[in-house]
Symmetry: none
Subunit: 181 residues, 4 copies
Amino acid sequence: MDTVLPKRQRIKQQNRQLILDGARRVFAEQGYDAVTVRDIIRATPLAAGTFYNYFTSKEEVRHALEDEIAVLLRPRLAEGRAEAGTAEEFLSAFFSSVFALRTESGGLERADLRAGLGDLREDLDGAVARGLFPPLDTAALAAALLAAADEIAGRLLRDGGDPAHATQAATKLFLGGVEPP
Amino acid sequence: MDTVLPKRQRIKQQNRQLILDGARRVFAEQGYDAVTVRDIIRATPLAAGTFYNYFTSKEEVRHALEDEIAVLLRPRLAEGRAEAGTAEEFLSAFFSSVFALRTESGGLERADLRAGLGDLREDLDGAVARGLFPPLDTAALAAALLAAADEIAGRLLRDGGDPAHATQAATKLFLGGVEPP
Amino acid sequence: MDTVLPKRQRIKQQNRQLILDGARRVFAEQGYDAVTVRDIIRATPLAAGTFYNYFTSKEEVRHALEDEIAVLLRPRLAEGRAEAGTAEEFLSAFFSSVFALRTESGGLERADLRAGLGDLREDLDGAVARGLFPPLDTAALAAALLAAADEIAGRLLRDGGDPAHATQAATKLFLGGVEPP
Amino acid sequence: MDTVLPKRQRIKQQNRQLILDGARRVFAEQGYDAVTVRDIIRATPLAAGTFYNYFTSKEEVRHALEDEIAVLLRPRLAEGRAEAGTAEEFLSAFFSSVFALRTESGGLERADLRAGLGDLREDLDGAVARGLFPPLDTAALAAALLAAADEIAGRLLRDGGDPAHATQAATKLFLGGVEPP
DNA sequence: TATGAATGAGGCTTCATTCAT
DNA sequence: AATGAATGAAGCCTCATTCAT
C-alpha cells in the first residue's frame, strides 16, 4: 500500500513521525498539560526550530495523535460487536475490548475513547434494528456505556482486578438492570 | 451562629475566601492545569505576595476547594435517596440531583462528583439491605452510575435537553437493563 | 555596675539583645551575606515589625555585633602582651590568643580580628619603646602579624593541628626570620 | 594563532566572554555575594534568558572566572622567584609581584591569590633545597607570606603608599625577623 | 510598643518562538 | 529544510518594609 516517495518527502514524514512518537511518550509520562513543546523536542533527535516546520503548537500535535489513536483504536474497540447475536454478546464484546485496550496502553484517556462513541452508537442502532435490544435512546446508552466502561476500567487499573470478571459483572448489570425480581 | 471576630482575623478569613473564590472562578474558566498562581491572584484584589500567606501552592488551593465542594456537595447529592422506597425512586433521586448540580454550577468536575462516591456506595448498600436492590457489586454499580450520570449531564449541558426527561431515561435504563422482553 | 532600669527599658534592652543573639546565630550559620532580615527575625520570638523598632537594616545589626565582639574580644586578644619581657613572649602571647579565640568561637571572622589591630600596634609601639623589638614599621608588622595569625588559624581549624605547636612555629618564624644562618 | 571559526561558534565564544567580563566587573563593584544573576546580565548587552545558555548559576560563573584568573595570575605571581639567588631576592620578588597585581587589578581578592598558594609552597621547597632558606614549615610560611602580603597590599591600596618601599619593608621583616640584635 | 498581614518589587528560571546560518 | 542560540515575556517565590490594630 505504501507508495514510494521521493527522498525529501520520506525524510519529512520521518521527522513528523519522530515528533509524534516523542510526544506520545512524554504525554503518557507527564500528562498533556504538564508537557511543554521543549519536552517534545527533547524526546526527539531534532532541533528546536524543526518542530515548527511540522506543527505550530502542542495542541496541533495532540490532534494529530488523536487522529492516529482513532485510526488504530476504533477498529479494535468495535471488535466483535458486528457479529453479536444477542444483547449479552454485544455488551460483553464492548466491555472486554475497552478493558483490554485500557489495560494495554497506559496513556489512553477518556477523551481517546470518545473517538469510538459514534461507532458505538451506530452499532447500537444496528443492534436495535436487528432486534437485539428494545428500542431505546441509543445516544444516551452509548454515552452511559462508554463512561461506565471507562470508569470501571480505571478502577481495574488502579486497584487490580480481573478483566474477565469485570466484563461479566458489567455486562450483567447493563443487561438486566437493578430491579429486583 | 457566627462568632464576632476581632477585625484582623475577620480580614484574614475574608482574604482566604477571596482567594478561594477567585481560584474557583479561574479553575472553572481555564481548567486546573492551565491556571497559574498568578491567575488566581489576578482574580482577586490582593497583591501577589499575599497568596503565599494563605497557601503555598495551587495544589493546596485545590485541596481547600475540594473540601469546600465536598461539604456543600455531598448532602445535596445524597438528597432523597434515604427516603427512597423503591429502586426507581432511588435512581431517580440520584440522577436528578446530579443533573441539577451540574446544571447549576458550571465549574463542577468529574473529580468533584467523586467526593460523593463513597456516600453513594453506602446508600446502595443500605438499599440492598432494605431489599430495594438485589445483592450486587455495589462498588462497581456506584462507579458506573456516577460515570454515566456525569457523562449524560455533560451531554445535557453541551447539547441542551430536559433534565427531567434525561432523569427518566437514565433511571429506566439502569432499572430494567437493556435486555429485550 | 548594672543600674536598675524601669520595666519598659528593661524589656527594650531584652528585645534588642534577642535580636542581636539571633543575628549572631544565623550569621555564624549562614554567613552575613546569605542572611536576610527575615532570618534574623525568625531566630527570635519577636514579630517582623519589631525588628524595625531597634534596627533599620541588617547592616546596623552587624555594626552592633561588631561592637559587642570588639568589647569582648579585644581584652582577650591583648592578654599577656603587656607583661611580656621578651619579644618571644610577646609573639607567643599574641599567636596563642588568636588561635585560642578562633578555635573557641566558630563565627569569628577576619574582620572581627581587625578590631584588635589598633591595640596590637599600640602594644608593639610600647614594646619597641621598652626595647623588646628594634625600631620598625609597627603598622606593617601589626597587619602582617594579624593576617598571618588568622591565616594559620584558619588552616588549623580546617586541617586540624595543635595550637601549641602552631604558636611555637609562628613565633619562631617572626622572631628569627627566614634568613639562613 | 587564533583559528578561524564558523560565525555561529565565534558569536558563542564572544557571548560567553561578554558574560564573564560583565561578571568580573560587577563582582569587583559589589562583591560576589551581593551580585545577582540579573546584575551580571545587565552588565551585558544580552537578554535575560541567554545567561542560561552558558551558565547555570552565579557559582558556575565564579568558577570560570577563577580559572581565567588562575591562568593569568599564577605565572605573573611566580615571576622572578625561580631565578632568585638569595632569600632576599626571593621574598622581594614575591612581595613586589603581589603588590603589583593588587595595584593593577582592583577586583582581585584574597581568594584569587590563594590560586598561587600551591606554587609558592613549591617554590619555597625548591628554595630550601637550594639552601636559600633553612629547613622550615613551608606550608605555614607560604600561608603567612600570602596573608601578610595581601593585607599589606590592601593597606597600600586604601591608604596610598609606595609599593617599592612596602616591598623593602616586608622583605626585611620576613628576612631578619623581629628579634633585636 | 509589639504584632503580623499586606504589599509589590525583584530575583531566578523556563518557555515558546524567531531567525541567521 | 534543519539547526540551535537569542530573545524577552511570564511564572514562581521571597524579601524588606509598612501600617492598621
